[in-house]
């Protein structure tokens, strides 16, 4: 029950607060177009949010769970979806193909994680390496152009609110409902809090883990399809999304040790990151300064917020009041799992 309350209230505030601060800074410097800035940020943030939601589900599955194949999946899905859309003339077929690519790569990771007991970071790394090889061979002499209809749709901003942002907000609401109301969601959180206890309680842990990685792969594939239509397919389309997806999940308030997911927080953190890029561009700083600022802020937020009790192995961000003893107890055994 405590987790339900934690899910709804505190942790997601910080990302939005940071985003608002950066927005005010942009407003102060440029002196105009505050609404336009938000509108632009809202059209760029959804891509990061989609891949971030998948990463969030994976991280929620408990210590050691991380999906490092999202970046290669995004790049590969971009090429495959653009090629499919060009060949079939249907943008929908392209998006479905992109999601299929994500699922296919995730199947490789899942088989390695569950069948061969390979640590997730290595399994997804290996699957990602395979994906990036395929990307490189596809990229050679790639000529197809993204579907103009889909690109137009992604650029549509009635009343300044991008359609994609509305759609992704609906997806986020679905994920919230999924985590709170469905057996899968509750099982995932249980597995993340204590895998062994969940196993003893009859949760089909292997099936939950498999579903989670497949969901992350599919969401990364979707991101790649949309991003390639919005920008253009390229071999390093997804590169920045590996670090960024993990960073937005954690800044959003999701516990890195698993067991607590904060889907809304992903939005706040993604807006924060996008606005930060905008601010740096506005001031005219180099990519060097951009990276220094981003890294410095992530570290600052991290160290200021502090973490949980190291002895119990639940380093938590943004925790303001001590957890009830019961919650601490359930997480005591987490360190013993890989």
């Amino acid at each position: 029950m405590n987790n339900l309350r934690a899910l709804g209230t505190r942790p997601w505030i910080w990302g939005f607060a940071a985003a608002a601060l950066v927005w005010l800074a942009i407003l102060a410097i440029s002196g105009q177009g505050g609404g336009q800035t938000v509108s632009l940020a809202l059209s760029l943030a959804p891509y990061l949010v989609i891949v971030g939601l998948g990463q969030m589900l994976v991280i929620t599955a408990g210590p050691g769970n991380i999906d490092v194949s999202v970046a290669p999946i995004i790049s590969l899905a971009g090429f495959v979806s653009v090629a499919t859309a060009a060949a079939t003339g249907s943008a929908t077929a392209g998006i479905v193909a992109g999601i299929g690519v994500g699922l296919a790569v995730a199947v490789v990771s899942t088989v390695a994680i569950l069948g061969l007991s390979v640590p997730p970071i290595i399994a997804t790394l290996a699957a990602g390496l395979v994906a990036s090889s395929v990307t490189l061979s596809l990229a050679d002499g790639f000529a197809a152009v993204p579907d103009p209809g889909l690109r137009h749709l992604l650029n549509l901003r009635p009343a300044g609110v991008p359609l994609l942002a509305v759609a992704v907000a609906a997806v986020t609401a679905l994920v919230v409902a999924l985590l709170r109301r469905t057996v899968y969601g509750r099982s995932l959180i249980a597995v993340g809090q204590n895998r062994r206890a969940a196993e003893r309680a009859g949760v089909p842990v292997a099936r939950i883990i498999a579903t989670t990685y497949l969901a992350s792969g599919a969401l990364a594939g979707l991101t790649g399809s949309l991003l390639a239509a919005y920008i253009a397919p390229s071999a390093d389309l997804g590169t920045r999304y590996l670090l960024d997806s993990v960073a937005v999940v954690v800044i959003g308030g999701t516990l890195i040790s698993g067991g607590r997911a904060v889907p809304v927080g992903v939005w706040g953190a993604a807006l924060f990151f996008i606005l930060l890029d905008g601010l740096v561009n506005l001031v005219g700083w180099s990519t060097a300064a951009q990276n220094l600022l981003k890294g410095g802020l992530v570290l600052l937020v991290l160290f200021l917020a502090g973490g949980g009790d190291r002895a119990t192995g639940t380093p938590s961000l943004f925790r303001r009041r001590p957890r009830p003893a019961a919650a601490t107890l359930t997480t005591t055994g987490e360190n013993t799992h890989g």
């Binding site: 970071i121 699957a127 090889s133 060097a288």
Partner: protein, 319 residues
């Protein structure tokens, strides 16, 4: 029978511990055999130096990763950190050696500070090092926006050093592995570091300070990262902050191949040396086999999975 079994038991336990590295070693020998059958010159001293030299920076960076993994942490910034060191080596270290050395020492100190903060603020190392990787990248781009520069003469001389009788790259690989072995497996400090990884509460109850152990582990990882960057710069003859970005995940893979784990508490410097060389050799074998460069990373990934699958089988047999 009892007398016969008694000495056999520890050997079996030892076998279980070293099995992962043994599987990697088998893969390593198999790959060298493939190389030799394709190109018999590989087995000469010059051939081995050529084949092994590319793996040296990766192996040293993997030792840094192993040191952090032994305290239960993970470093997702080591790739850009090594890149940053090559940049410093190609710029400041040439123009004013004193400043260059001071910067490199400062980078090691930065790692120690990072470890201290990770410990004091009780934050996950995964995110802290991820954040730090942005900082390393920013610093590297700040010093040298585009790849270039030249390495100091002494460093270049080390890169082209060709002693008679044995392959030169073996020396740094073995020397660093021995040093890390002495630090993490043989010294009192190493015991504390591994205790921090396996049971921090026990370490504290024993009256020892976990903070010192973590800070020293991070400082050691930083120093090894600097060493890896210097060796990489000596081979490439210039600086490029993103030249080693693949190291971040490759070093983790090397540690896992060498028998390390994410739980902490174990130190496997010799296994890491084997795992790192195995991973590094993959690209050499593939270029000898005329595999197109685009497919190399796929094969690298599949080999990692195959070795780990072999480990699962060996583990089942030994159980």
């Amino acid at each position: 029978m009892a007398e016969l079994l008694a000495p056999a038991l520890p050997t079996r336990a030892r076998m279980r511990r070293t099995a992962p590295a043994a599987v990697s070693a088998v893969a390593l020998v198999a790959m060298i055999a493939v190389c030799a059958s394709l190109q018999s010159d590989v087995l000469t001293v010059a051939g081995l130096s050529l084949v092994l030299s590319a793996t040296v920076p990766l192996v040293i960076a993997a030792q840094a990763q192993m040191t952090l993994m032994s305290v239960g942490d993970i470093d997702l910034g080591i790739g850009t950190f090594v890149g940053l060191v090559t940049v410093v080596a190609a710029t400041s270290l040439v123009s004013s050696p004193v400043t260059g050395v001071l910067i490199l020492l400062g980078l090691v100190a930065a790692y120690a500070v990072l470890g201290t903060l990770v410990h004091l603020r009780r934050v996950p190392s995964l995110i802290a090092t991820l954040g730090a990787s942005f900082v390393w990248l920013g610093l590297g781009l700040f010093i040298l926006p585009t790849p270039g520069g030249t390495t100091p003469e002494w460093l270049a001389a080390f890169g082209t050093w060709q002693p008679a009788g044995f392959p030169a790259p073996l020396l740094p690989i073995l020397l660093v592995a021995a040093l890390v072995y002495l630090l993490t497996a043989r010294s009192a400090l190493g015991v504390r570091m591994r205790a921090l990884g396996s049971n921090p509460v026990a370490l504290e109850r024993a009256g020892l300070r976990p903070l010192a152990a973590r800070a020293i582990a991070y400082a050691a990882a930083g120093a090894l990262g600097v060493l890896s960057g210097l060796v990489l710069a000596s081979q490439t003859g210039g600086g490029d902050v993103s030249s080693a970005s693949s190291y971040t995940l490759m070093t983790v893979a090397a540690v896992i191949l060498g028998g390390g784990s994410f739980q902490g508490g174990g130190a496997v410097p010799w296994g890491v040396a084997i795992g790192g060389v195995t991973l590094g050799l993959v690209s050499v074998v593939l270029s000898l086999l005329d595999v197109p460069t685009t497919m190399q990373s796929a094969v690298q990934g599949l080999i990692v999975l195959a070795v780990l699958a072999g480990r699962v089988v060996v583990g089942k047999v030994l159980r």
